[in-house]
């Protein structure tokens, strides 16, 4: 209690600098964004109240927003599953007595450090070269190419990160637990489903959360790899919102309304996921 009393008056020194930056970068823009989603504006100063008109326009003007929502959802489901399954398999392999595990870990982890823009262009080159050699086509030819291209890019980027988290989790499983299972002559699958996975519930929660929110919010990779081509068919939510703001005339209000919908969608999904997986966690 004493400490708190000593500290209280130090608010201006300890808390204020971060708080001020936070107000400028987040609190004010967030509040303004909420308000502006109910107005028509181009430069903020000329905002005029229009009620829910922007929200109606976002969904009814054309099919693009709903299409991007669908694209993002399918992309997220496919990527979250593939990233986590592969990352987990790698983590299992790399926690065994195999030579060179450290080098393998480094190789798989490295792409995670490269940002979405550079990564998107690296893969743009490779995928286009492959498509050209095989079918004389490129990424702009079909949305299927763009979709799977994005899945591959995101897998390549995130598998290493999730693998590292799973490895830490596996190494934290007490060896007595495994030995007990082995004495009971549990087979590989029995050990996997009845010992390893339940013991890893904490790591699984984190990895699902990180992959889920990253996939839902994906922007840079989308911009660099496909830029929505062909015909906005490979446009995810974030890219659709960005273009509504900056590429369509007089649509800032609509863009802001879409952004609010996006924010609510991401929050609800993240909340449901955390609640669902947290309940499966056991205290080890």
């Amino acid at each position: 209690m004493r400490v708190a009393q000593y500290m209280k008056k130090w608010f201006p020194v300890f808390a204020l600098p971060t708080f001020l930056a936070f107000i400028l970068a987040f609190v004010v823009p967030f509040g303004m964004g909420l308000y502006l989603s109910f107005t028509s504006f181009r430069t903020v100063n000329d905002a005029r109240w229009v009620g829910v008109q922007n929200y109606v326009t976002a969904f009814t003007e054309n099919n693009d927003f709903l299409h991007s929502l669908g694209f993002t959802v399918v992309f997220t489901v496919v990527s979250v599953i593939s990233v986590n399954v592969i990352a987990f398999a790698l983590a299992m392999a790399l926690t065994r007595a195999i030579k060179g595990t450290n080098i393998f870990r480094a190789v798989f982890f490295l792409p995670n450090l490269i940002g979405g823009i550079v990564l998107g262009y690296v893969w743009n080159l490779l995928i286009n070269a492959v498509l050209k050699a095989m079918f004389s086509q490129d990424l702009t030819y079909s949305a299927t190419y763009g979709f799977w291209g994005l899945v591959i890019v995101v897998n390549w980027q995130m598998i290493g990160y999730m693998m590292v988290i799973y490895i830490a989790g596996i190494q934290n499983i007490p060896s007595e637990v495994m030995e007990a299972a082995e004495i009971d002559a549990a087979g590989f699958w029995a050990k996997l489903f009845q010992v390893t996975l339940p013991m890893l519930a904490g790591s699984i929660t984190i990895c699902l959360f990180l992959t889920l929110s990253n996939c839902l919010k994906m922007f840079d990779q989308n911009l660099a790899l496909t830029d929505g081509a062909p015909n906005n068919e490979t446009e995810g939510l974030a890219l659709n919102i960005y273009r509504t703001f900056y590429a369509i005339r007089n649509h800032q209000g609509v863009g802001q309304a879409k952004a609010v919908v996006f924010f609510i969608f991401v929050s609800v999904v993240a909340y449901l996921q955390l609640r669902a997986t947290r309940s499966k966690e056991i205290d080890a």
Partner: protein, 279 residues
């Protein structure tokens, strides 16, 4: 039994080796094509550079000139390093205050920070660039303030989690000995926080270094960081695209990251794991 185990280990090793090689193909492709003449990049991207297609470092010298690469590198380094140092320092102070002073406003502040982590950037991108414009933060120094505000959520959250596990008796003892609040923090608390500070530094540096949209919207019309320079090179070149030069730019953009990784591999992997587990 043992020989079967050995065979399994060899097969596992080979499978991983093949996978690791496949994993490196994209980077190898870019590196290979960065050494080839423009025409050969689009015509025969899979061919190794030969006497005819090899262009030495022409792509690099040309690309560096066209993008102003070293200027972008300098700007990226400046923004990333200063922002990271500022975030590590000020958010640790804030987190200490929030963790130790129990009042309604610290609770509100804490939940606001946590809340900000989930909000997608698109929600605030337009209004934030307007705020930056009005308040004069639309320059390389001002953007550090924005990064501090935007990076505060995750950083405060991780710091607070850790500080709550430090017994408060340490601070009490120091204060009874007559130490000021200031020196309690920097002499007692901050040294204990060092591993967490490392995690915060790595997580923020990775994010800020690669960030595209925020600097593009706020300072992009005058200042180019590396991701902005890479993208504007690709989008800005109409007609005949200088693909060779573009490959060279991608390689140059990746080199600093690989250097960073080679220097700090252990702390980086430890840092992101710790950050994720606490987050």
């Amino acid at each position: 039994m043992t020989s079967r185990r050995k065979v399994q280990a060899v097969i596992g090793f080979l499978a991983l080796l093949i996978l690791a090689i496949i994993y490196m193909i994209p980077l190898a492709m870019v590196l290979m094509n960065s050494l080839k003449g423009n025409l050969f990049v689009s015509q025969s991207p899979f061919a190794l550079p030969d006497a005819q297609s090899f262009s030495a470092f022409q792509n690099y010298t040309g690309g560096v000139e066209k993008t102003g690469f070293f200027k972008a590198l300098g700007l990226s380094l400046f923004i990333t390093i200063i922002s990271t140092v500022v975030i590590v320092l000020v958010t640790s102070m804030t987190a200490w205050y929030i963790a130790r002073v129990k009042a309604w406003y610290t609770t509100v502040l804490y939940y606001l920070f946590v809340f900000s982590m989930i909000v997608p950037f698109q929600m605030v991108m337009f209004t934030m660039s307007k705020v930056a414009n009005v308040t004069g933060l639309d320059n390389p120094l001002g953007i550090i303030v924005l990064y501090t505000g935007f990076g505060a959520g995750l950083s405060v959250f991780i710091y607070v989690g850790f500080i709550r596990s430090i017994p408060i008796e340490l601070e009490e003892a120091a204060m009874i000995d007559g130490a000021s609040t200031w020196s309690v923090f920097f002499r007692v608390i901050f040294p204990i926080l060092r591993p967490t500070a490392m995690t915060i530094a790595i997580l923020n540096a990775m994010w800020i270094w690669n960030d595209y949209l925020l600097p593009y919207l706020v300072i992009g019309s005058q200042w180019q960081t590396i991701p902005i320079a890479v993208r504007s090179y690709m989008v800005g070149s109409y007609g005949q695209k200088d693909m060779g030069g573009f490959m060279a730019m991608l390689v140059l953009a990746i080199i600093p990251i690989i250097v960073f990784f080679l220097i700090g591999q252990k702390s980086i992997i430890k840092g992101v794991t710790a950050g994720a587990v606490k987050g």
